[in-house]
Structures are given as structure tokens and as C-alpha cells.
């Protein structure tokens, strides 16, 4: 037995949420060949099938690409610091892939070790995550290699599993998830099958060992020299979280903001003196991979990667995490 909801009932539910003033985000066909997670204002915009993974990640609904952290104003020499908005409307991130949802508990750790980023936390608290289990995958997908899978519940408040007849089995995992779907599902004898994920492509533990032993290895130069140094991978990655802090304004007033940043940019780690600890692109690729598969696991116990494959899909030159890891495999069995 299972609880199910039809696609049309799901859209009705979404319409209710919008009517209640909740913000809804989800996958949307933005133009031919391009699906993105965006804010949705009409249930018809929601896409629940026909795509593998949107080109971006839903992290920006809790960790926006640009976030004002306060504004300042000078009157003569008097300074006024004005708080940025710190209450956020309830929001539902709908039909996100399980790999994207799994990134959120991973990011929770970073934004809360020692110092707590309340901007992140408040947005997170205001968010209900409803995942959509994957029925298919492409060559870039590798969730199963980082301990996840096409219906992994991590980070989900509720999950929709595509069943027959345009219906979804609804599996709530938290109170939030329960509340979101209470009274709108019907009990059915049907149960969604267990979707199968991509074949496992590497062993993350061995990757970690490899990284710790090959900091100076030739692989970086040999396999990542064609990296162009853009941030397409980092900015569409559900787990990449590096940011910059900038002031915008003038001597009279302005804002300070937190903006996404990427370790692939040369100026990311450039010292004021002109010295750059990571002055070449292979060094920057090494940083990215090491951060994901060695440093973060060491510090926080989680791999900073959920296998969504966006880095590969969005790479202008077909690099991405997966290809580097596969190159490592050629060096030794991973």
C-alpha cells in the first residue's frame, strides 16, 4: 500500500501553496534544450518528467548567488549599519533530484561549524524539500559512487516516486514533508518500483587515498590542463559553496554582499602581494577535487559531491569531476 498523488493533483497542490503566499521553486523548461531550477509562479511551469538533471542546482534557494549581508550609510562621519532582511518566506523546493537534496545536509555542516550563518539557516528552516526520484540517468550521473542513489532520502522532507498512470507515490520523511501532503494523497495498492541508478564508477575511499598520496602527482598537469578556468562547474554544483564578500557603493552608502565565488578563478586565492598559492589551472583543479574528496570528508565526514554530474554536463571542454576521477583510475585501480 502506498500514498499517491496524481500529476494534476500535484499541480493543484502547488497552486494552493502559491495562493498561500509560499514561494515555489522547481525544474522548468526555460528554453528548448534547457531545464533550470527556477522560481515558479504557475503550476504549468513545473516539469516532472522528461529531463535528467537541470543545468543548475537548487542550492541558490538557500544560499543565493548574491546576498546582501547589511547596508551602510554615512552622514558626514556618522556611520549607520542597516540590517539586511532576516526573515524569509516559506518556500517549497519541488521536484528536485535526490542528489541535489542530499547536498543540503552536507552544506548545513559547513555553515554551522563554530560560527553559524543565520542567513543560510533561516532560509533552510523556511524551506521544504520535495524530491523527485530518478527513473533514468545519463553518462554524467554518478550518485551511486558517492554513496547516494536515485531515490536516496537524504535532505528530502518528502519524495515523489513516479508510478504508473501519471501518478507519484508520496513518501514523507519529516514532519514538514508530512504536513505538505497531508490530506491530498490517496491510498493505493500500487507501489512505485525501486529505480536503478547508474553503475558505480569509482570508489570514493580510494579516491581519497589517491588524493592524499598524489598531491604532486603528474595527473593534475596531464589531465586537467585543458580546464579553461571558468566557474561553470562550481556555480552549477549543488555542494560548491565558496563565496566572496564585496562592498558595492560609495563613500555615502552602499551594501556589503556575499557572492558566489569559485576556486577555479585565478584571483580567488591571489594574495595582495601578488603571490598566488594556486597560480596554475592544474593546481586549482587539484584544490577543487581535493576539497571535495579529501578535505571535506576529513573535516565534516561527508564527501562534498553528490554525483549529480553537472560539472561534466556544463563543462565547456568536457572535463568535470568524473573525468578526472576516471583518469585516476587508469593510474591504479579505484
Amino acid at each position: 500500500m502506498s500514498e499517491v498523488i496524481s500529476a494534476s493533483a500535484l499541480r493543484e497542490l502547488m497552486r494552493d501553496w502559491l495562493r498561500q503566499g509560499k514561494q515555489v521553486f522547481g525544474p522548468r523548461q526555460v528554453k528548448p534544450g534547457l531545464v533550470l531550477y527556477t522560481r515558479l509562479t504557475d503550476p504549468e511551469q513545473l516539469l516532472v518528467s522528461g529531463f535528467i538533471h537541470p543545468s543548475n542546482s537548487p542550492k541558490e534557494f538557500v544560499f543565493p548567488r548574491h546576498e546582501v549581508i547589511y547596508s551602510y550609510r554615512f552622514e558626514g562621519k556618522d556611520l549607520q549599519l542597516l540590517d539586511a532582511p532576516d526573515s524569509f518566506p516559506e518556500q517549497i523546493v519541488l521536484a528536485v533530484r535526490p542528489c541535489d537534496a542530499a547536498a543540503l545536509p552536507i552544506l548545513d555542516k559547513l555553515f554551522n561549524w563554530d560560527f553559524q550563518d543565520e542567513f543560510y539557516n533561516r532560509r533552510r528552516q523556511a524551506t521544504t524539500v520535495v524530491t523527485l526520484a530518478c527513473l533514468s540517468h545519463d553518462d554524467s550521473c554518478f550518485c551511486t559512487s558517492v554513496g547516494l542513489g536515485p531515490a536516496d532520502p537524504r535532505g528530502s522532507d518528502a519524495m515523489l516516486l513516479p508510478a504508473q498512470d501519471d501518478e507519484f507515490e508520496v513518501r514523507p520523511f519529516t514532519e514538514k514533508g508530512e504536513a505538505s501532503f497531508s490530506g491530498v494523497t490517496r491510498t493505493s495498492s500500487k507501489q512505485a518500483g525501486t529505480p536503478s541508478g547508474p553503475a558505480k564508477k569509482f570508489d570514493a575511499g580510494q579516491v581519497r587515498t589517491y588524493l592524499s598520496e598524489n598531491f604532486e602527482g603528474p595527473i593534475w598537469h596531464d589531465e586537467t590542463l585543458h580546464c579553461l578556468g571558468c566557474g561553470a562547474c562550481a556555480y552549477t554544483c549543488p555542494t560548491c559553496h565558496c563565496f566572496d564578500i564585496v562592498d558595492e557603493g560609495n563613500a555615502a552608502g552602499g551594501i556589503r554582499a556575499k557572492n558566489w565565488d569559485s576556486c577555479q578563478f585565478p584571483i580567488f586565492s591571489l594574495h595582495a602581494s601578488g603571490h598566488n598559492p594556486r597560480s596554475t589551472q592544474p593546481q586549482r583543479q587539484r584544490q577543487r577535487l581535493t576539497h571535495k574528496f579529501q578535505i571535506y570528508p576529513e573535516k565534516f565526514g561527508d564527501i562534498l559531491c553528490t554525483g549529480c554530474g553537472n560539472c561534466t554536463r556544463n563543462c565547456p571542454v568536457n572535463l568535470g569531476v568524473l573525468n578526472v576521477l576516471e583518469a585516476m583510475k587508469n593510474g591504479q585501480p579505484l
Binding site: H66, V68, G249, N250
Partner: protein, 155 residues
């Protein structure tokens, strides 16, 4: 768009040091009155007037921008205005494709002797801009088409 009666257009004029600035100066010394809506920014040469300055002016809520320098043949640096002219020809195409209102961006040649022309140009631009109303550069579009709502800087 209904325009409040009190609307006074803000006009930013990027002018070259050798001709137009002196022309404006001459208008002043001759006591030729022209609207106080113009903010003059003096640069060495029109060849130095980077397109980013024009964008910056709109970012800072200018309602119209004027770029003005020496007449062809009169450039203090011989060819600065010729280079500028070619750049503007192309830049106008880009702005047009982007959907900028080209009625908000003016180019003139005003010499050091043309105080009168300065007065006329500024008066005309001010009147024309007053009629058109404020320029809502980057007023937030229909929120439904935006991927996310991210707050605009208030600076």
C-alpha cells in the same frame, strides 16, 4: 507613464577638456543660461570616454547622457575624436540590440567657441528628456520570468 510635475531630468555630460568643456565655460562667462540639470564630467579627450562610463551614468540613475568633444579635425590629440566616433557607431548598435532607448544618449561636437551651441544642446536635451520622463534603466522585469528573486543592490 504618468510623470510627476516635479520631475527634473538628471543629465550627465561627458565632455572633452579642450573643446566642449571650454564651450560650456564660454557659455558661463557669456552668461548664457542653460538648464542646471546637467552634470558635467570633464575628460581629456572623447577618445578617453569609455563606454563603461555611459553605462555607469545610467546605473546611477541618469535620465540622459551626452557625450561631446571637438569637431572632426580639431582634436587636441589629432585623432582621438575619430577613434571615438567609430566606437560610438558600433556602441550604438550594441545598445540598440540591448533595447536601450537611443533617445537618451546624445553625441555632439561642440567647440571652444560654441558657447551658444552648448546652451542650445543642453536646453534641447533637457526639454526632450523632461518630456520622456525618468529613464527606468533595469527596472525589475516581470518577476515570473526571472529564475530567482535576488535582491538588487540598493547602492
Amino acid at each position: 507613464m504618468s510623470v510627476p510635475q516635479t520631475f527634473e531630468p538628471k543629465i550627465v555630460a561627458f565632455v572633452c577638456n579642450w573643446c566642449t568643456y571650454l564651450g560650456a565655460d564660454l557659455a558661463g562667462t557669456n552668461r548664457l543660461e542653460y538648464p542646471a540639470n546637467v552634470r558635467i564630467i570633464r575628460l581629456p579627450c572623447t577618445g578617453r570616454i569609455d563606454f563603461n562610463l555611459i553605462i555607469k551614468a545610467f546605473e546611477l540613475n541618469a535620465d540622459a547622457v551626452l557625450v561631446s568633444g571637438c569637431h572632426p579635425g580639431d582634436c587636441h590629440y589629432t585623432t582621438g575624436n575619430y577613434h571615438a566616433r567609430r566606437r560610438w557607431m558600433l556602441f550604438r548598435e550594441l545598445l540598440s540590440t540591448l533595447g536601450f532607448d537611443l533617445n537618451r544618449i546624445h553625441f555632439t561636437w561642440i567647440s571652444a567657441a560654441e558657447g551658444k551651441k552648448w546652451q542650445q544642446v543642453i536646453t534641447e536635451i533637457t526639454e526632450k528628456t523632461r518630456e520622456m520622463g525618468p529613464y527606468p534603466y533595469l527596472a525589475i522585469p516581470d518577476a515570473s520570468v526571472s529564475t530567482v528573486d535576488h535582491g538588487e543592490s540598493t547602492a
